[in-house]
Symmetry: C2
DNA sequence: ACCTGAACACCGTTCAAGT
DNA sequence: ACCTGAACACCGTTCAAGT
């Protein structure tokens, strides 16, 4: 009853509530979901809680999403867009291809650290074979750019660049996941960004090493 | 009513059921949980379903686990033991330290492929700061062995070996996770074991490259 | 077209009661 | 000591009914 809702804002401005319905409830639900995720974590991200936060009944989301999974997918897609924006900005800070690749990797890990629950949701959606195109496109959009960057940095073939690309991605993804899952707790436990920097330096050796005979 | 339960087996042997209680219900619940995981996936792993499968009431597990999280932790710990056994067996197949490391990595990915839901459960338990010692010990037990193996293979310092160790672990963990999460779906989509082999070959270059000045 | 309220099945958890 | 059955709060989903 005393739950804050967007329509309360309209009321407090003295405007008569034209209607209790949102202009764009779908968007409001995605936004509410992200807020719940960042504030209270994955376990709290419930369809009913999302509806409550958006100020509508628990059945309302079904007019915009076929089920809970569809809502989670929309939130994940939004997260991928956020990540891409952050990575693009980071890569833009340098013109050197090698440094650009390093910035990519470090920023990938940073995003996971800054948005742990969102990051986990993004990469843990098992939509099986029928991944919605919205997600499929959003999720691996940066992979081709990495291959490009590696070709520019090393002059190697696209095939070799693909392998190296996967190596960089796997390494940073694995580091981020192991950190999120509290697996990096041994003696010293250096901060995550330091570990990411160490690994990126090690990987730099591969980029600089001579290509093996094909 | 017509659910199969372990006590039915006793009955069908003609033995009078001495009691409906298990000798070791805790163990039976962990086993039931693993079976559910492998047959029907994480979403089906429910406290009540686990109890049904073990043939007891849904409240019975609370006499052996404080809550659902404790049951999941016990299942995860069992999974880590399974993984360690598999990896130890794989590493034993060679005496060459370099080959041993490669076998370690490839087997890590194999385990994830063969037990996708169990693998995800193992590495996704966020027990926060109060990780039960049972899990903490089981989860990263192989890390020191890797550092050891790298020292033996390269003769480098423990510090350098720690970094390289984390590189190998992160890479194989990330590859496994990206594959489980259906992120490796671009053109060609080579099989996972082939990708793992490619990455391990690339990483081999780092092991063989000259150590930088400290 | 968009939303609500009641309803159903299922889940995690608790607790008095049984043996 | 170990388990059961009923109970409670919560969740995902459906659907007739409202505007």
């Amino acid at each position: 009853m005393s739950l804050k809702s967007p329509s309360d804002q309209a009321k407090s401005k003295g405007l008569p509530p034209p209607t209790y319905h949102h202009g764009d409830l779908r968007e409001a639900l995605v936004q509410a979901g992200i807020e719940i995720l960042e504030e209270r974590g994955l376990a709290a991200l419930t369809l009913r809680e999302t509806a409550r936060r958006a100020g509508v009944s628990h059945a309302a989301p079904y007019h915009h999403f076929s089920d809970k999974g569809a809502l989670l997918t929309a939130i994940a897609a939004r997260g991928f867009r956020m990540q891409h924006n952050a990575m693009a900005a980071a890569a833009q800070s340098t013109t050197d291809p090698g440094e650009g690749l390093q910035a990519y990797g470090l920023n990938y890990v940073s995003f996971a650290q800054n948005h742990p629950s969102l990051f986990r949701l993004m990469y843990t959606r098992e939509c099986g074979p029928n991944t919605p195109p919205e997600l499929a496109e959003a999720s691996s959009g940066f992979y081709p750019k990495m291959v490009e960057g590696i070709c520019a940095a090393t002059g190697c073939s696209v095939e070799q660049a693909s392998s190296i690309s996967l190596l960089l991605w796997s390494t940073m993804h694995g580091l981020a996941m192991l950190w999120l899952d509290h697996q990096l707790l041994w003696e010293g436990h250096p901060p995550l960004d330091k570990l990411a920097y160490e690994l990126s330096e090690l990987l730099g050796r591969i980029l600089q090493s001579p290509n093996p005979a094909p």
